[in-house]
Amino acid sequence: MMEDTRIGLYVCWCGTNIAKMVDVEQVAKELGDLPNVVLSKTYKYMCSDPGQDMIIQDIQENNLNRVVVAACSPRIHELTFRRALANAGLNPYMFQMANIREQVSWVHTDREEATKKAKSLIAGAISRVAYHEALEKRTVEIDPATLILGGGIAGMSAALEIADAGKQVYLVEKKAQLGGQLLQVDLTFPFMYSAQQLRQMIIEKVVQHPNIQVFNNQVVEEVNGYIGNFSTQIKNGKKKETELKFGNVIVATGLKAFDPQGIEAYAYGKFPNVITSLEFEKMLLKGKIQTKEGKVPKNIAIIHCVGSRNKDYHEYCSRTCCMTALKFANQLKSAIPDSNVYELYADMRSFGKGCEELYTKTSTKGVTFLMFDQQDKLPEVIKAGKNDGCEMLIQMDEKLSGEEVEIPADLIVLMVGMEAHEDAKKTGHSVGISLCGNSFYIEKHPKLDPVATTTDGVYIVGNCQGPKDIPDSICQAKAAAARILGTINKKQVEIEVTTAFANEELCCGCQTCVQVCPYTALSYEEEKNISVVNEALCKGCGTCGSACPCGAISSRHFTDKQILSQIEGLMEMILQEEISEN
């Protein structure tokens, strides 16, 4: 090493979060004696301003050239501290974090063991940081155009928000018509506003917008490139493929309705007058509420949570069905005033603006509410007897009365939940984003970054992130638009620095790496007989480095040396502890 390695070690208390389970003072004291460690301190909240100021000051006063902070998960504060290093004039990558909260103090119960574990993790970090190299930030230009996948309300709203700022938008819709799920809705809950008006207006605006190019009946197979510089091939009408270039991608592919055929108890497909909420919505759009036989139904039952909140189908709540069901009940009572409407529900989730009020109103209109257990005992639809005076009967355990009851029904509406499209995974892969357990796209942070994804420049909005209603979808769409407009406004964005790097001197040109890279960041250069890395495409996974047989490729910030020395550092500390114990 050219210069002395001078490491500063900081152990965070995190209030009592860490200090309660880890003897931070002891840790700091003992590890302060490790080679290259020139100072070692503890502080209540390292992430706080004073905590960071302390690091900055120490770097400047003690010529530290490397810093280790033992605190929470690097996923939370690595950036914070890197920034502090940068503020102190040190390269931000001369930093390593030891996760002694999420992976020590919060998961262990023996203080001594936890302290030991913390020590070894920090020792690993200290050992590793000595091999860190300065990495420089780089930026790429942002192509001001945006690609939006999905022409539902979310996709269209995002498109308009961006296009209105004068920027180009490519809107790709799988179906022949824009509008998505909104196409099937007559009125929106809770205020019974016209969805038709809303839809017509937005579609017209989108179609006529000079900055929006709509591709109907199209699916994007693969998106290449990286933030600021994506491209894809797309068929323009029936013409041949054209290449689109764009700087950001918004995925707004929505969800689809659950197919209730799998729930035997509801006899969907068996009885013609058991219909899904979508089919009922169509009926409302047409304006005629009637049974398959063409009669006006007298008894209408609406069953909630179909395919939702049940381990056998989907565990999650589909969020909008309760309100849609209340809307239906109101529409029914309005259209057929003397009908009997029954709502079979599990929990009434009327939580939005004006929603609880709609629930009250629905009750006042004389709709009968019956509660069932959506987990253990679903209501059962059976054929009614001759004397029942109706076509079907629903048998259920009614929780609020504690009785077994039967409900006469001429028409049964199943409030089907929402679930991911079959091709969600494929679409996700084409733009490089992943799914969570329920096949919704996973956001960068469930709370503080609900529209961004772990892939820079790719955003998820609307239902494809999880079920939601129209205003929430629009909010998300606009939120993504904000981020994109921000980057467009700044014209450039910083890109990944921890990419792979191919050493020309070592590469033998075997091309093993080329095959491995999922981002085509590696290519073979015949003239020199070597592989080269396009660092703008590289996302830094490091698989190529592991595949390289000759050690020519290294993953910046995750080099063999760094990881091996981390292993060494932490194992040595464990053994040292063991020896001192025996």
Binding site: R75, Q103, S434, L435, T454, C541
Partner: protein
């Protein structure tokens, strides 16, 4: 003193490390024998690391990545799986019980599964007893 297994673990940043963090934020308790090393992708895990861990005295090595098909980098976890299988065969030849290394898929939401996995793996390694690699290497040099 009773045998306290030493386990080195490589976790991918996106699913498994996050899953481990989730176990933490959810305060799920698990055995403290594990030492986690973060890599960006399980595809980064090289046999060298595993060998190094054993050489340095680890009794078991746990590798976790995203579930098949969920890899943040599309296929890194498959690469890991392939290497892992070959690696297992190799260490078996080298006289190290092949189950001293384990590859499991842990997603970002599976904090609970992670905690369970650690406990279980720790017990499995405890059954195996100490790994002798370090001892051998030390007597040799």
């Amino acid at each position: 003193m009773s045998f306290n297994p030493k386990i080195v673990s490589f976790l991918c940043n996106w699913c498994s490390y996050t899953g481990a963090d989730l176990a933490g934020t959810s305060r799920m308790k698990y055995a403290s024998n594990i030492r986690i090393i973060r890599v960006m992708c399980s595809g980064r895990v090289e046999p060298t690391f595993v060998l190094k861990a054993f050489q340095q005295g680890a009794d078991g090595v746990l590798i976790c990545g995203c579930h098949p098909g969920d890899c943040h980098y599309h296929e890194g976890n498959y690469n890991c799986l392939r290497r892992f299988k070959l690696m297992q065969k190799f260490i078996d030849q080298m006289g190290i019980e092949k189950d001293r290394m384990k590859l499991k898929w842990i997603s970002a939401s599976e904090g609970k599964d992670f905690a369970k996995l650690v406990d279980q793996f720790t017990e499995e390694i405890r059954e195996f007893g100490p790994c002798k690699v370090k001892e051998i290497v030390e007597t040799l040099s």
